[in-house]
């Protein structure tokens, strides 16, 4: 069923009894051309682009629980393409362009809101770094604007301009950045992929890989063995565990990242704001709650929950930026498991085993990359070569020295 004003009116007149499930909850067949492990945003997007761009519809997405209940539903929903490195920026800009056309393409309201992303700076050195980043973005055709403190103050009077320990000197604004409704992104891709013939199989945990010599020929799951010509792993947070089934060790550590939402208040933040003197980023949801996050807890974890020192640290970042929120109550906090790679950049590549492909290492950046990661993974699976914008995301770059360390932190995953 196509969603439109006409379909809405038709359903309204018939008491909304005619809506169909948005996608098919499939049972697994015994074999597929392509299996994608992981029914998050990335896996579903890859399945969709495999079917739509490359005409491959004999595809299954296997999800151990329900789709979108992992990191796809645990992030702070920010989309942006304000990266510095020439290998990263055009990739994230592809993602931004796909976001801009996503709802028309999927015929699904993903609530993409280009309300802007503003990175604040608080020192001369930080301003110079942001000027450099803004220039790098503009050289790649991405929008970037440098605002002085006066213009920031006009946009965001709630921030502390007068008594702040780290006074706001200005900010780098990407107006095309913003937020999207993360659940709707998952459902939209699932519906569109399912409509093109992709099987979405839930409650189907992969417990092993079928192997003949150096070739992966399928997967062992809690719903039986399924053979496949190609198997793609798209399970950020748990990539090391699936890779271990193939005997591989990855340049990845799993870390917990917490996020928070406050009670709803009247509109105070027209855009996404990041605090430059600490690690704190915040936006306001359409319901009115402040959605924010900060640093990783900093130790290996698969627990999907963090500890209190990080809660205090994130909240003190928020208080330093806008003391006016001091009496707001936190409604919820939660944790997601990040695939922290050794250089802070992702991997979309083949593996040493034939027939096994990897989409991993997304660190903090997985949500914004959803459309482009799916697009480039589909390209790799269908064409047997990396998409030109994802060529640098190689698995062997750690051995060859071609690292993509956006922040220059070195091989310490909890610092990226």
């Amino acid at each position: 069923m196509r969603y439109s004003l006409a379909s809405l009116l038709r359903q309204a007149c018939s008491g909304h009894r005619g809506w169909e499930p948005a996608w098919r909850d499939a049972s697994p067949k015994s074999a597929y051309e392509v299996i994608i492990i992981g029914g998050g945003g990335h896996g579903l997007a890859a399945a969709y682009y495999l079917a739509k761009v490359h005409g491959l519809t004999d595809v299954a997405v296997l999800e151990k629980g329900c789709i979108g209940l992992g990191n796809a539903g645990r992030n702070t929903t920010i989309i942006r393409s304000n990266y510095l490195l020439a290998e990263n920026n055009p990739f994230y800009e592809l993602s931004m362009k796909l976001w801009e056309g996503l709802e028309q393409d999927l015929n699904y309201n993903a609530m993409v809101s280009q309300r802007g992303v503003l990175n604040l700076f608080h020192s001369d050195a930080q301003r110079d770094a942001f000027v450099r980043r803004g220039n790098a973005m503009r050289l790649h055709g991405v929008d970037a604007e440098l605002l002085d403190a006066r213009r920031v103050r006009r946009m965001l009077p709630i921030l502390d301009f007068d008594g702040a320990r780290f006074p706001i000197q200005g900010g780098l604004l990407q107006r095309r950045g913003g937020t999207a409704r993360h659940d709707a992104v998952v459902w939209g891709y699932a519906r569109a992929a399912s409509g093109l013939g992709v099987d979405i199989v839930q409650q189907c945990e992969v417990t092993g890989l079928l192997r003949e010599g150096t070739r992966i020929t399928g997967v062992r799951t809690t719903r039986g063995e399924i053979r496949a010509g190609k198997v793609a792993v798209s399970v950020a947070g748990h990539s090391s565990r699936v890779a271990a089934m193939a005997g591989l060790r990855l340049p990845i550590e799993s870390h917990v990242l917490q996020a928070f939402v406050s009670e709803a208040i009247k509109p105070v933040l027209p855009c996404v704001v990041t605090f430059g003197a600490g690690h704190f980023y915040v936006s306001q949801s359409d319901k009115g709650g402040l959605v924010f996050g900060g640093d990783l807890d900093g130790y290996n974890s698969y627990a999907q929950r963090g500890n209190l020192p990080t809660v205090e640290d994130v909240c003190s970042g928020g208080m330093a930026l806008m003391p006016a929120i001091g009496r707001l109550r936190l409604l919820r906090s939660w944790g997601g498991i990040m695939d922290m790679s050794m250089d802070g950049s992702p991997i979309i590549d083949r593996t040493p085993l034939e027939g096994l492909y990897l989409n991993a290492g997304w660190c903090y950046g997985g949500f914004k990359a959803t459309p482009a990661a799916g697009y480039c993974l589909a390209h790799l699976l269908a064409r047997e070569e990396s998409h030109e914008l994802a060529r640098a995301f190689r698995l062997d770059r750690f051995a060859t020295g071609d690292l993509l360390d956006e922040k220059g932190q070195g091989p310490q995953p909890n610092l990226h």
Binding site: R249, L250, E253, N300, P309, M342, F398
Partner: protein, 89 residues
């Protein structure tokens, strides 16, 4: 999360700095396959879901390195001992 420091007793983990996997030994730089070994030691990790041996530095305490065995699924701390030469293998 609290870590039982061998010198200072039970302390909040925010007193400690985290280094990561304790199993990454520095390879012999003169070995024939030194380059491959260094790539493994610097970049590749087991990253287990379960017991994980890791190094923490008691920065805001006695400033000693400790080797902690911790369950990454529950954050339960299973064992703490002093790291370095005096620690049993």
């Amino acid at each position: 999360m609290r870590i039982e420091c061998p010198f200072c007793g039970e302390r909040d983990h925010s007193e400690f700095a985290y280094l990561g996997d304790a199993g990454c030994a520095r390879p012999a730089p003169g070995a024939a396959d030194a380059q491959a070994r260094f790539v493994e030691a610097v970049y590749l990790r087991e990253n287990p879901a379960g017991a994980h041996r890791e190094l923490w530095y008691h920065e805001f305490g006695c400033r000693s390195w400790v080797q902690v065995t911790r369950d990454t699924r529950t954050h339960e701390i299973l064992e703490v001992r002093l790291a370095g030469a005096s620690a049993a293998p």
